[in-house]
Amino acid sequence: MAILEAKEVYWRYAGSKKPILENINLRVDEGEFVAITGPSGAGKTTLVLTLIGVIPQRLPGEFQGKVLLLGYDTSRTQISEITRNVGVVFEDPEIQFVMSNVEDEILLGLEPLQLDEHEIQERIEWSLNLVGLDKSFLPRSPLQLSGGEKQRVAIAAAVARRPKLLILDEPTSDLDPQGKEEVVSALRSLINEYRTTVVMVEHEPELIVEFADRLLVMDEGRIVLEGEPSEVYELGETALKHAAYPPDYIQLARQLNIKARDTGDLLRQAYSNAVKFNGVCNPRVIEGRKGDVIVSIRDVWFEYKPEKPVIRGVDLELRLGELVFLMGPNGSGKTTLSKLVAGLLKPSKGEVLIDKRGVGEYTREELSSIIAYIYQNPQHQIFNQTVWDEVAFGWRLRGVPERLYAEKVEEALKLFNLKGLEEEHPFFLSKGEKRRLAIASVYALNPKVLVVDEPTTGQDRRLGEQLMSIFRSLVDKGKTVLVVTHSVGLAYKYADRLLVMVDGRIIADGSPRLILEEDDIVYKAHLRQPVEVQVCKILAKAREHSNPFS
């Protein structure tokens, strides 16, 4: 039986020339798990809003076609009626919290259902258990929860309503690896114990392959590919063209020209037929540590509150021409260390030298011309009304006449693919364009070091790869780029050097492959081992022992 049907759906936001959704035909049957993926800006979240009737009922624009959810026409039925049977979990766990503690948050969704007190208590506890949390979380404020816990509470709040359809819009994109794992295990128990119909918008191919029965790939407002997840990923270049990047094991299998059902199967094959895996474990040439030391940090300590150091005696040197990745669990001190590197925080103890001078000896203008800091949310650092003004902001601030900096602004716009958008208001740019603008606006001042905080959070893999190519080209020009990230895949693929932080200390510094081979470090820093590293370890084991799977 169809729970959800969309027929010939078309949607264009008022004021926009192009439609966001076009010719969408979709059917989801009861008990099915359907995943939707595609590049940022493909229309995935807009489709979610259309499925629950927010479009066209609440947002202005042109709508055509029909969406039937449990038999209701969502363009005509009251949204409160539709959402009685639908639970929605959005991408940002922070924003979804309306109330001030976990109990009130779950309760809020139950209020319109007019349940009695006993039923409410029972549902609150049941939903919390389902996502792996207990009653001790009920009085806790959202500020006291980690990203993974917040998202699990958001799922609990949606499931407490016992919906017939659960819609998850990128539930893991804002989370660190541990948070992701927490949400994934919540999803596992959700699927096993509460067999509901699920539509999940997701970028992570590993999650899609694990859970989804069917995968839809969207691009430019249309469903361009559809099928079983592994079938879609096997399409190779066709899928990649629409930012449907396959899981690591499929990518590696394709590279080796073999077939593998899942990661376990690939590892088994690695053990039984090591010859096929020749070349996977060849040591990579470390290209980093080329130039002079540009940042030197000596025994640096930092505390926001007395007696509670966040950074504990860190020693670090960054050299020109290095692409350095900084990883570690939430709260390990990555952002604090990156701000110390950029001179935005002053150490409680120890010293930070930039280009051989103490950070305190520079004026703000001088320092920002040497080190640029790019924030996780580009909206925090866009202060002007046009793209051109934004890129020129740093020069204007220094009182430089336009004729002297116009060329540099043009160069930055060209490098970051923003030509043609000069007169646009930054507010109306896409996520990826805003991100590029934020980098272009600091790049225009020609700094030697760029510190980039979580550049790929909430972005599709294609955009992540694009950003990494940009960083690589900057490094090739002799600049140093320090990237704070949770993405093990990108760090493994692009980093010259990996720093791992735990509890305010750097516990590992060196080649990404060598560090990620260390089980102890991976465990402590809540990272995951890339499939190539796992294969290499299996090959090494195979040489030493008999079948590890027996």
Binding site: I79, M99, A158, Q379, H380
Partner: protein, 276 residues
């Protein structure tokens, strides 16, 4: 639950028997104390009110070092009041000190600017300072002992429509979002070379105008996202709350505290009405 003071200023208030009072009591006590400020009319009642508010504050476990932070503000206000009484007002009473700063002889008479300190002027100054202290203590008592949740549930108990208590909750969430966004935007400006300490006032003003762009765009984005999150849970302006959780009963201690507060207000109102 963290109190408003803890959320906004990060000041932790230790747990005392005052924190065990029902949320309704913790809201009503400062409400009545603030009402009392209108009734005090002399130094006796102002002292009584300031001391009562201070006692509540100490009972509630508010760290005195927090008040110490505001000492500069309190001293500045007091100093301003003293100066205005001494320099700009000639309050009749027993003269304690008098001197003429300026004397102008004109056709229609003599105009003098005098410093005149009388016993009544000093009493009035003390009265104003005590009243300000009472107000500061009462406001601190409120934000240091009440959480946003207490207010939201208080509004729910009044059976107001859902949108009222949700708006109240969003208001508090909005403040913390705005404060943290503002700090990040300010830091992002510093990272681009803005030096707030060395900039002139006019330049600072222009820079803060620039800061409004990201702040407003973030507010718009967040408002949209929050309203979508509410819609997706079936919450609409017309929704009524049905849940009957957390309808705690007031204890003897609550009744005693409430009785004292109400009695104080009645007493001050009586004093205000019959003594003046």
């Amino acid at each position: 639950m963290p109190t408003i003071l803890e959320e906004l200023a990060g000041v932790y208030v230790r747990h005392t028997s005052y924190s065990e009072l029902d949320a309704v009591t913790r809201i009503i006590v400062p409400f009545f104390l603030s009402l009392d400020v209108f009734f005090v009319k002399d130094i006796t009642t102002a002292t009584l009110l300031a001391v009562t508010a201070l006692v509540f504050l100490l009972w509630a476990g508010v760290p005195l070092r927090f008040l110490k932070n505001y000492l500069f503000l309190i001293l500045s206000l007091s100093f301003f009041i003293v100066l205005s009484f001494v320099f700009f007002k000639e309050v009749p009473g027993n003269t304690l000190y008098s001197t003429t700063i300026l004397r102008v002889n004109a056709e229609r008479g003599v105009w003098e600017w005098k410093i005149l300190i009388t016993d009544t002027a000093l009493l009035q100054t003390a009265f104003f300072i005590l009243r300000i202290l009472a107000m500061i203590f009462t406001a601190t008592l409120f934000i240091a002992t009440v959480s946003d949740r207490d207010i939201v549930w208080g509004l729910r108990r009044l059976k107001l429509p859902a949108w009222v208590s949700i708006s109240a909750s969003l208001f508090f969430r909005g403040i913390s979002f705005f404060v943290s966004d503002f700090l990040i935007v300010r830091e992002a400006m510093i990272a681009r070379g803005v030096d707030f300490e060395k900039s002139s006032l006019a330049r600072k003003f222009r820079i803060y105008l620039n800061a409004l762009i990201p702040l407003l765009s973030l507010m718009v984005t967040r408002s949209l996202e929050i309203s979508l999150a509410l819609e997706s849970r079936g919450i609409q302006p017309s929704t009524t709350f049905s849940a009957s959780l957390h309808r705690g009963k007031l204890t003897i201690k609550d009744y005693l505290v409430l009785a004292f507060t109400v009695f104080l207000t009645i007493f001050l109102a009586w004093w205000f009405t019959w003594r003046f």
